[in-house]
Amino acid sequence: MNKIINDFSITVGTKNGSGSSTANNTILRSIFKMGIPVSGKNLFPSNIQGLPTWYTIRVNKDGFIARQEESNIVIAINPDSFAKDLASVSAGGAFFYSDDIKLGINRTDIAVYPLPIKSLVRSDQSIPNDFRDLVGNMIYVGALAHMINIDLEMIHTALSFHFKGKQKPIDMNFSMVKMGAEYAKNNFEKKDPFYLEPMDATKDLIMSDGNTAAAIGSIFGGIQFAAWYPITPASSLAESVIQYLPTLRKREDGKQTYAVVQAEDELAAIGMAIGAGWAGLRAMTSTSGPGLSLMTEFAGLAYYAEVPVVVWDVQRIGPSTGLPTRTSQADLTFAYHIGHGDTQSVILLPATIDECFEFGWKSFDIAERLQTPVFVLSDLDIGMNQWMSKPFQYPDTPMDRGKVLWEKDLEELKGNWGRYLDKDDDGIPYRTIPGNKHPASAYFTRGTGHDEYAKYTEDSATYIRNMERLKKKYQNAKNFVPTPILRETKGATLGIIAFGSTENAILEAQHLLAKEDGIKTDFLRLRAIPFADEVGEFIEKHEQVIVVEQNRDGQMHQILVTNYPQYAMKLASAVNFDGLPASAKWVREGILAKYSASGKKTSAKKKAEGAKPSRTSKKEASKKSAIKQKKK
């Protein structure tokens, strides 16, 4: 049998709340520490205990670490999902299972490894009863480690990190790992082709999740105030802010330079953040779709009253009784037009962990420079899963506090200033901050019913002037937001536009499209709205541009069509919204279904019929796949 080295996927099927996340993270981290590119995705239900949950790991020597739909190695611990898990193993794959599950194995095309997890754990008298299920997960870690060659030393490193150096749990868990490995060594004959071999591809990288990165980035951005209300998948962002602030902003006098308040709801959370932003603090809140809905009225007010505030939206499928633990990019058009009346939002779109860090600090600069709410749209996949990442980079620009006038500035102006005067002709006015003692500093903040000097008026001409200035300010915003990232292929006529956590899947799909389908593509990854000039130029340059995203209605496609009506016919939309982290398979199939480059129009249409991306019928889809038909 030919060995398959560093190129496969592992799926663990367990019950929610069974403590398997420690075990699964340990596998992920050990492989990472072996220098092999790897990713891990937690696919979990909205439930504390009992429902089936899966963890899928992708190992790939070439660095393609988007979720792989096919499972090569499956570990089944949960009787409720056993049949499904067994069926999901790819032909020639490996199946580990807990042998207390007495269900039949009806497949002969895979290697099967039954694990006596319960009896092995029981054999160690030193494990207290109520810890057995928890540490029992480490048996499969050990067995898997032996069978695919995970370095046990790396497992120990991962456990030490997880338990923050606490010897007792490290020892207890590691003894189970060794027991599992020992059992596999004595009882299993290797019948599958999957092996790991150490590489050197990750030594300069770190591993973290986007919410942690965003929190730490915010701290390097000088966060002073955060208000939040618990919501999956955003809670860990605020919790990380609370966790890291005392260490990273420690002062000799022991005093705090920040305050974090858990609000009574999202309305109050954004209200407090806007109050703090108005009072001159770097303020933020973090939430997900349903919370963002509650923030709508305040977001509109902050837009009109020109108050800087940062809002992180870690997107998921909503509402709370929707699929709240599944990833999504479906808050986009909502966030783009959030608020009543004519509003347009500044939106940042991080795709990687280090970008979550970078946008964590940069968002404050942008918000204060533009005196407007900045929405950072992350998602559950990037926010909650562990990703490999470039290390965080110290901010490369000093803090930009924007146009703020203090006493001496007003002294120089002889008190002659207007809060909403467009003095610099860039749509951005000057502001003063409470605590400014100059008698001319104060102004009364209202929505749009004010003149250039913040005096109450409902005069139509003044209102129109103000609204036009806000529009000018928004157009000017493109000069302050992160520019898109372009990856060009020589001779490509097809363009791909995407954003956020789908990046890995797109990069792999580009590779597959070139290799399997002979289609060369260029990829423009958007990082912000309003769009930089490069976006229009990219669309203009290509015969066709397919916008790939994770929502039903092709929301980014809509926004692009609205912004570039002259190119509307060039823009096509490929979507997937099954709630799972993006895979190269659906990106490729989605692109093929919409691909209409010259001479390929007819065959592309045919492909579209056979290659509809669908998770439930993925096997059939890949069998029928027009790509393969074409090859034959």
Binding site: L248, L281, P398, K437
Partner: protein
Amino acid sequence: MTMENLPMAGTPANVNKAGLVKNDYRGAPSTLCQGCGHNSISNQIITALYEMDVVPEEVLKFSGIGCSSKSPTYFLNRTFGFNSLHGRMPSIATGALFGNTTMRGISVSGDGDSASIGMGQFKHAIRRNVNMVYIIENNGVYGLTKGQFSATAEEGLQLKHQGTNPYMPIDICLEALVSNATFVARSFAGNPKQVKELLKSAIAHDGIAIIDIISPCVTFNDGVNAYHSYAWGRENEQPLHEISYIPPRNEIMLEREMEQGEIREVALHDGSVVILKNVDKHYDPTNRFEAMRVMEEAQRNNWLITGLLYINSKAKPNLSATFNLTAEPLNKLTEVDLRPARSMIDTVNAMMF
């Protein structure tokens, strides 16, 4: 009490200790209806702050939406203010007051703003003991939208175009008390002296000070029998006590002025004192249980009970005082204070796996 009567040598008669004249405390001309109780309250806010020598740049004004919430435009032109959203003033104030915790908030809300749409934020601001005076100008009606019932309107109230109110009213002071407010008072806009003295006490209080001021709507709710009308208010007002606010003074003065028996003094955190002349000699505004009882009693007897109903100036620190913040206001801190040192980036990366 007022400085007008006691001119100091060398200073104009109308200049207070902050070096300001009353005009420095005024706002834009009111656009509320003539005879509106809210205007009377605005005037007392102006007078109270002027008489207390408060520097206008050292307070912050907040309001929600409604007739009452328009009123911060009509006082303190030299003070930063935020006319926010309907029912959401408390959250704006909560965040803003972290900018510079030496500043005290003066917030104006209404019965619609605080007892209906903003009931949640009203109670949570109280629970957090946000450092502000929270005035509810209570007229039992939605004035700005032309006369709908509010949640404080009494059951059976009849309004033109609205019919009869079928629901029980919400008592703002009771709600404040059960939410653990540290200062609860009620007054009547037609009793300006009491309003002023209560405002002064509230301004001197550390933490949240709730003042429910029955402020009749002359346009939409001024039937003779309406609970929130002038006529009813004047007739049914039951002051708990005569109240006088005495600014901070030294101890000798305090001893000399001490009278026995009829007068009860309540010390505020800054050393100032509220003197209550009790109608009911046994009433003790530091007794929460008593406060609950007199309000319940007033409700049963259809009395409008006014005065300082409850105060506990030592109950707990105000919200920002619980944070051990820097002496320098947060909004004066710069990059040196706010951005971790360059070396910390390695520390952080080392903390990741």
